[in-house]
Amino acid sequence: MLWQAFTALLSHWRRHRLQLAMLLLGLALATALWSAVQAINAQARLSYARAAAVIGQDRLSALVRVDGAPIAQDTYIRLRQAGWLVSPVIEGELRFGSGRLRLIGIEPLTLPPQAAQVDVSADDIGLAAFITPPGLLVVAPETAARLAGEATPPLRLSEALPPGVALSDIGIAQRLLAQPGRISRLILAPVQLSGLPPLATIAPELVMRAPATESDLSRLTDSFHLNLTAFGFLAFAVGLFIVHAAIGLAFEQRRPVLRTLRALGLPLRALVALSITELLVLSLLAGVLGVALGYGVAAVLLPDVAASLRGLYGAEVDGQLSLQPSVWALGLALAVAGTLASAASRLWRIATLPLLAPAQPRAWSRMSAQALVLQAAAGTGLLAISALAVIIGHGLVAGFVSLGAMLLGAALLLPLVLSLVLALAGRMGRGVVTQWFWADTRQQLPGLSLALMALLLALAANAGVGAMVGSFRLTFVGWLDQRLASELYVTARSDEESDLMRSWLAARSDAVLPIWSAEEKILGEPVQVYGLRDHVTYRENWPLLAAAPDVWDRLEAGTGILVNEQMARRKHLRLGDELTLSGGRSQTIVGIYSDYGNPKAQAMIGIDLLLALHPDVNRQRFAVRIAPDRAAGLAAQLRDAFALPADNVIDQASVKAFSLRIFERTFAVTAALNVLTLGVAALAIFASLLTLADMRLAQLAPVWAMGLTLRRLALLEVLRSMALASFTMLAAVPVGLALAWLLLAVVNVEAFGWQLPMHVFPLDWLRLGSLSLISAALAAALPALQLVRRQPSALVMVFANER
């Protein structure tokens, strides 16, 4: 009985294969985009966790200097001889060709076992080779691939290391980093002897740093991943519109079957259970398909994501996608939950279906004016919430709440707005066909409104994100011009070489500007502090957002400090505020500068002050001012004179190109997701039109009978779809603008710490508009073609059939 009833229910799908395909495809696509984002995020998180776990940073405490400066090796010996079980680590950035490497030097004999990720005594490494020159670099396989051909010590592979990290002996690392006798931190063995002499008496400059429970990377990149997740959800929501439409239609078409089944004695509860079972089967099927598809999408997108994370945050993400059970589970759960949610109202109607209801005309696509108004009211309410979230709320979550409420509210408002517009158009239309066209379009609205809402979301997201990225690009390019004012950027191989080079350059260039920095702890957080030499370069070009009148003089005098926008926003700093540097020195904020592309806090002081605070600052990097036409020649001379590798002297154009490349890749993912979302929306329209096509026949047949050719009707059908799409596009413009504003003025500020001026790109919208018109036309084309191909006998059935 149950089985029979179930097959009766399922037989519907055999007769409506296209409908089934649409349902599955919609659900699969929605799940796919969401899973893709999840897979990417999971992969990134895995990489961060691996990075955090490098030499046990997530589990073991360490001793570091209060001021963040390197620790002298003697201090290490003193601590060991006092009985402290500590192990020295040096960490630094190493440049090989165009790549960067985070080099971690360990001391394998004292390293606590909890911190030993790599077994140095393994056959393929060996302690002797590891610690004696030239030493070994242990790296992840993909890092090895990236380093292939570079002049590094011999490489050994270990899967345990995150990409971009190289492990070596501390002695080897000190030499590679040109920091002999220096130690970045001392790892504390978890168990120490009792009765040790206190730290204050042996090394008062050191403090204990607790294990990093959450890695810096995952905190920094949080906003980026939140962004991705938001897009994933948007795509999922758009996909659910398709599902909702397909399920609704199937229900309506099966209403007689359902009634008959009940009349034949199937209990109501069994019927509901069967319906739910059917939905579960379908959604699981689509879910599996979707997650698999999602991995495909993720695999395609991951390299870009990895590149932008590397460029933006210096975060290394494994380019190899690993299958994560959590992504599968979540993807499937979401598919099932989404399906059940979209089907809830239909299930409810099954449960309350009157057994002996009179045969009704198919009314499901008809929506009462009252319902329209109610929905619009809900939409208005959401818009109000969105506005409130911006005004009252703060933080990234409030930003996304506002964003979500705004999009959903606008989508809910759309049917009413379109209905009004179409009514107006109908009133203005002259000919009988025109009038009928608008009237009929308006009547189609409820059946298409879900798909149109999906389209609105996709278009608005495209327009908004497009405006955001475009604004960002314009601002960023302008800012790069200001910021990268020097003609050459030089990295010496040692402080001594740098000193030599600078005196060599003194007579050959207009100016040599140091790019020296040290880490300071300001307001409890590590801040990279740069020393500025007073020069016209800065006075004329530096991108100051706010500045005291005598900013450069006060900086030069050593009393002022500049902070970047992100730091000012995060710490609520304003001009005139005082900041305390190491040694208790107090500095007045005399300027705030924009610092795009850098998520971290940064500050600038006079070079003399920096040298006074940190006499042993790394002096390897500096910039050179020279007439632009002489820059290339000077670079060549410099390379020759010091036998400098090409990469150590970079000209302005290369730095800019590099920065822009990072920028472009950062938003490549967003763009890709956007296009995919638009694709899903187009599919939603297609699915809706296709499923409506059957129903349309009954509405079109009388018109045809009264003397309109099928060809004309088909053309009108295509035009109708395009009209709806273009109205939706028009509606999407203000929504897109609002979205762009929210992204630029709210989300960006929270996520990255910088605010950007908004620019508008009407050409983009034109392109987007034509894109949506084309997709609407294409979506309508197949049903229209079917209509033209109809046999008259099929049409007259409409009149002959009893219903």
């Binding site: 090796q73 003697d74 290490y76 010996i77 060991r80 001889q81 006092a82 009985g83 001391e107 394998p108 004999l109 004292t110 140095v120 005594s121 056959d123 060996g126 302690l127 002797a128 610690i131 004696t132 020159p133 002996d169 501390i170 002695g171 080897i172 000190q174 002999p180 006798g181 168990v191 002897l193 009792s194």
Partner: protein, 351 residues
């Protein structure tokens, strides 16, 4: 002393080409120096480190009696391993150091281990004034300028749950083993430089679980260095250092192999008179075995040296004197019964 487990250690953490044989005249294939019979140790210079030799150790074992009347044992050892002969600058120095320390009571055996790189000052041996250390573990001479640096030592170490500070004063001369310090370790002729100071009177303090115990007793110091691995078929090593109540001392070892093994040793008179034992003169047989940390080791031995009328058995103060270090072995104090009662230390490796 056992060379084999030292080599195991090297194998475990360094794995240099161990299998390389000998290159005959005084140096190994890797450029390590070899002990020469013709060049006996010279003091005080040879108390220090010999970085051109592959392995070396300064080894102290003490049989102690507490103020509470109980027996105790203490061990302090500093090992040196060279990945390559010679020294280098800072971290590039191919010398590795390892410290072992232990305290044994009738019901407890606690041990600790320290590892360090040479060249950076974390561990090493300095000659004038003599001082050996790894981390906070120290062995410092307090002998006057005219006497042998080893004639008076302060030794200290600390590990989880234990610490000790011992003052050592020699009551007899240094003892050279084998042929004036040239000690043969196998029938194939592998040899090391080996001397001892077995005549220490000890006074000091043990700290166990925060409780101080004043102790007195006897101690035995060994210093040995070599470059040669054991023969391929030698599987382990039993080593004995005995203080007899008569004031006489015995150092003996048995290298186990597939055959009868190789035994040798030194009989030391109460006055420090040395009598090297020819191979095979000393016999040592396990009498009783026990399970310690999953291994079966002899805990009672029967030793005899017929021409001295020696016929003794040993009984471990604590059967579970297992050194829980990277390369683990049994090392603990024993009581001696039979013809020559006394106390001593036994080390057993390769079980």
């Amino acid at each position: 002393m056992n060379v084999r487990w030292v080599l195991l250690f090297l194998l475990a953490i360094a794995a240099p080409a161990l299998a390389q044989g000998f290159a005959g005249l005084g140096t190994s294939a890797e450029g390590f120096a070899m002990p020469q019979k013709a060049h006996p140790p010279v003091f005080p210079g040879d108390h220090g480190a010999h970085p051109d030799y592959r392995v070396e150790w300064w080894y102290l074992t003490a049989n102690l009696t507490g103020e509470d009347g109980r027996d105790y044992g203490a061990q302090w050892t500093l090992f040196r391993f060279a990945l390559a002969p010679g020294t280098g600058e800072s971290w590039q120095t191919p010398q590795l150091w390892m410290g072992h320390a232990a305290v044994t009571t009738p019901d407890q055996h606690v041990s600790a281990e320290r590892l360090a790189r040479g060249g950076i000052g974390q561990a090493g041996v300095v000659l004038t004034p003599f001082s050996a250390n790894i981390d906070s573990w120290r062995m410092d001479s307090r002998a006057g300028p005219d006497s042998d640096p080893m004639s008076a030592l302060d030794v200290s170490a600390a590990g989880a749950g234990f610490a000790y500070r011992l003052g050592l004063t020699a009551t007899g001369p240094l003892v050279l083993h084998g042929d004036r310090g040239y000690s043969v370790k196998s029938a194939q002729g592998q040899a090391s430089y080996y001397y001892s100071q077995p005549f220490y009177a000890v006074k000091g303090t043990l700290t166990l679980d925060g409780r101080d115990i004043a102790v007195t007793g006897q101690a035995w110091f060994d210093h040995e260095w070599s470059s040669q691995p054991l023969g391929a078929d030698q599987s382990g090593w039993d080593w004995f250092s005995f203080h007899f109540d008569t004031g006489e001392k015995l150092m003996g070892f048995r290298l186990r192999d597939e055959g009868a093994g190789f035994t040798s040793g030194t009989w030391i008179g109460a006055d420090g008179q040395v009598e090297p034992l020819p191979p095979g003169a000393l016999t040592a047989e396990p009498l009783e075995w026990a399970e310690v940390r999953g291994r079966t080791v002899p805990i009672r031995w029967k030793l005899s040296l017929p021409f001295r009328g020696l016929d003794i058995t040993t009984r471990a103060l604590n059967d579970a004197a297992w050194m829980d270090t990277q390369v683990s072995y049994w090392e603990g104090p024993v009581r001696i019964e039979g013809s020559h009662p006394g106390r001593g230390y036994v080390e057993m490796t390769g079980y």
